[in-house]
Amino acid sequence: MLLLRRFEERAGVLYGERKIRGFCHLYIGQEAVAAGIATATRKTDPLITAYRDHALAIAKGMSPESCMAELYGKATGCSKGKGGSMHFFSKEHYFFGGHGIVGAQIPLGAGIAFAEQYKGTDNVCVTMFGDGAARQGALHETFNLATLWKLPVIFICENNQYAMGTSVERSAAENDIYKLGLAYNMPSFIVDGMHCETVHQAIYEAAERARRGEGPTFLEIKTYRYVGHSMSDPAKYRTKEEVAHYKTLDPINTTEKKLLEYGFATETDIEAIKERVKQRVKDSVDFAENSPYPDDSELFTDVYLQPDYPFITD
């Protein structure tokens, strides 16, 4: 969680310095969700999410170096510098993006789950989206098919309370998003997203349900982003008190306290972790800084499966 936080903080600073271009949606405040998912699922369980994807990619095992390089648009980035902040991807880490159009990844998640079901693996596809995306028609179509076909998928709505500047109260009359799932006879729950243990437990149970062939689960994980929607959003639509309240629930502080309280770690251990994380983030920035931009010839690669597709010429 600390690595995710520090990585994002650094990305925010670099965006301010215009080292990172385009858009930059930070995950700060929502780390317990990524942590809970990472520990409660297997390495081979695919994960797909929207554009707020940096932390989830790292949680799924992708290196901070390849992620930072992608933010820089460098050739060594996880998408060869062609995707940027919103479009991380790594098949070998079972991380399937990184998607820029709100809600468009939801059907893809069901597709991946269908492939797993068809091939007879017991992998479960974690399909994530925000509270804003829950209003897209694609969600409805996917929920309907996923329940009809009992697909092994965990739908996760990271409800950070604001779709950009529009609060949940303003985008739907029914504020409990999990209730949408009940309309499809899908087990649906609210989960406290500020504690990694509760997230872990909920994900673990949902994954087991899917592995048993009982179909999808819908989890509305209540979380909070401290910062604006993206780096260009000052988030004036929220009160200082509201942000301050959530900061007292900070998942990292809570976990740190608990580790000390139960004797799982000492102050020295935690200091060591902090130092290690700091170094790792620094390494990732150095790596990105020192990497080359993609070569112009890269423009013509990867559009089709064939390496030399004849139609693409300049």
Binding site: R21, K82, I101, R135, T166, Y293, P294
Partner: protein
């Protein structure tokens, strides 16, 4: 439609029908959600007749009944026997009274059955015989007839009379249809039916007062003045209210015009585009902001199947402007940089406008908002804050469908629009030996073909430039038109210059090479030398 009634304070309700098959579409979800969050007075009626063409309900959804969906939106859902006219009448009339008092949506699932095929060619072989027999007993006409007989309201004689009258009415209608002459296609009439011809007078500024405004401010200005000009203009878009829109174009609008007219929408482009047509049916005007032009894909069905065809089909104009922040060169990656004007250019029934300057942006947006037809209005993100000009303070319109000559020359014609206008101007400044016409199309549909032909006939050479990828781009159509209509005056092959046929890469150096500007100077020189 219910939004229009609600805004006008009309105590009316709307009834919207769908089959159970239609409920699996995303639009169903979006419509129920928006209707519930906006408390719209609407009754959604699902006529659940058991089969979506040949697909039984057990292969359509897993929940027991479709009214369960209502819970997800916090609205009331009622299942009724759709074959019992009295139950239908009682339920709907009770709800109609309630909804007029306190506007809100309700979901009705009317259980019924179709005794024929999905349509007359498809038959009913997929329906088990027992099911047919079961529902035959529940026939609504037969049962109601028996009920009325039992209650002593109807007599056998009266039934006979009614049956005869029905038959006569149908026969009379059939006679009229059979006697009607065969339709003979009149191409001009067909084309005239595509757009609503009711155009308003052009607006000319009454004073010479000008202010220096950026492209983005010109757009805000036009919207603000349109809000004053048309009291029934409603703006809809994601985060456009208090937040002021992703690009801050509607900043401050809520304070001035209120939340009813400046509406934040959930993230559901499709139903919002549909609501635009619904509002238009009620005689209101709407502007829909796509947060990025790329996201219009989510509203594609509504735009290319409903907004565009309603006038041709039933003389109902779609008084809707869809604003599209478009284009690249801003390092925004593959889903926030695209140029997709060619999709709409190809679709009859839509007007496509694409200003390149602050002056044109204001004048064309006001013209688009004045136009009763659907207009897809492209505005380039890279121009928002990089371009300023003195433009009239007062409202004015620029005629849709008229190109602008940016500069004149004799060697060749550059036909372009949007960012291309600025690329062309820049390239010519760096190549003073080339004397060229630069034509800024400004409107892509309808296309100002005369301006193109006039210039090309004069110079004898044509270079078509656009930011969109080359294949299937608008340049292909323009090149074909030139080849057909200016062939005898051409001194060189028509040249097109567009972006590569690849998605748009994120890394700035790659995006630079992706864009046609990277190849434009060379293409210009080559054509000049030809």
């Amino acid at each position: 439609m219910p939004l229009a009634d609600k805004l006008r304070g009309n105590p009316k309700i709307t009834v919207a029908f769908t089959g159970e098959g239609g409920t699996s579409e995303g639009d169903f979800h979006e419509a129920l959600n928006v209707a519930s969050v906006w408390d719209l007075p609407i009754i959604f009626v699902i006529e659940n007749n058991g089969y979506g063409l040949s697909t039984p309900t057990r292969e359509q959804y897993r929940c027991q009944s479709l009214v369960e969906r209502a819970a997800g939106y916090g609205i009331e859902g009622i299942q009724i026997d759709g074959n019992n006219i009295l139950e239908v009448y009682d339920t709907i009339s009770r709800l109609a009274t309630e909804l007029r008092q306190s506007p809100r949506p309700v979901l009705i699932e009317a259980m019924t059955f179709r005794m024929r095929g999905h349509e007359e060619a498809s038959g009913t072989a997929y329906v088990p015989k027992a099911l047919m027999e079961e529902w035959a007993i529940k026939d609504p006409v037969l049962n109601y007839e028996n009920y009325l007989l039992n209650e002593g309201i109807l007599t056998a004689d009266r039934i006979d009379q009614i049956r005869k009258r029905c038959k006569q009415t149908i026969d009379a209608g059939l006679k009229i249809a059979q006697a009607a002459p065969e339709l003979i296609l009149d191409p001009q009439q067909e084309i005239d039916d595509v757009f609503c011809p009711k155009m308003s007078l052009p607006m000319v500024p009454q004073t010479a007062q000008m202010s220096n405004k950026r492209y983005i401010e010109a757009i805000s200005d036009a919207l603000r003045q349109a809000m004053d000009l048309y009291p029934e203009l409603v703006l809809m878009g994601q985060d456009i209210a208090e937040y002021g829109g992703a690009f801050k174009i509607t900043d401050g609008f809520v304070a001035r015009y209120g939340k009813e007219r400046v509406r934040n929408t959930p993230i559901c482009e499709s139903v919002i585009a549909g609501i635009g047509l619904g509002m238009s049916i009620k005689g209101m005007k709407t502007m829909i902001e796509m947060q990025f032009a790329d996201f219009v894909t989510c509203a594609f069905n509504q735009i290319v199947n409903n907004l565009d065809k309603s006038h041709y089909r039933w003389a109902q104009n779609a008084d809707v402007v869809v604003r599209m922040p478009t284009g690249g060169t801003v390092g925004a990656g593959p889903f926030h940089s695209q140029s997709n004007e060619a999709w709409f250019f190809h679709t009859p029934g839509l007007k496509v406008v694409y200003p390149a300057t602050p002056y044109d942006a204001k004048g064309l947006l006001l013209a688009a908002l004045a136009d009763p037809n659907p207009v897809i209005f492209f505005e380039h993100k890279a121009l928002y804050r990089s371009l300023a000009d003195d433009i009239p303070d007062e409202p004015y319109t620029i005629e849709i469908g008229k190109a602008r000559t940016v500069s004149t020359g004799s060697d060749l014609s550059i036909i372009t629009y949007g960012l291309g206008v600025h690329w062309a101007t820049r390239a010519l400044a760096a190549a003073p030996h080339i004397s060229a016409d630069v034509i800024d199309l400004r409107t892509l549909s309808p296309l100002d073909t005369n301006a193109i032909y006039e210039s090309v006939r004069k110079t004898g050479k044509a270079l078509v430039l656009h930011e969109d990828s080359l294949t299937g781009g608008i340049g292909g159509e323009i090149a074909a038109l030139i080849a057909q209509h200016c062939f005898e005056r051409l001194d060189a092959p028509v040249v097109r210059c567009g972006a590569l046929d690849t998605p748009i890469p994120f890394a700035i150096p790659l995006e630079k090479q992706y864009m046609p500007e990277a190849r434009f100077a060379a293409a210009l020189q080559e054509l000049w030398e030809y």
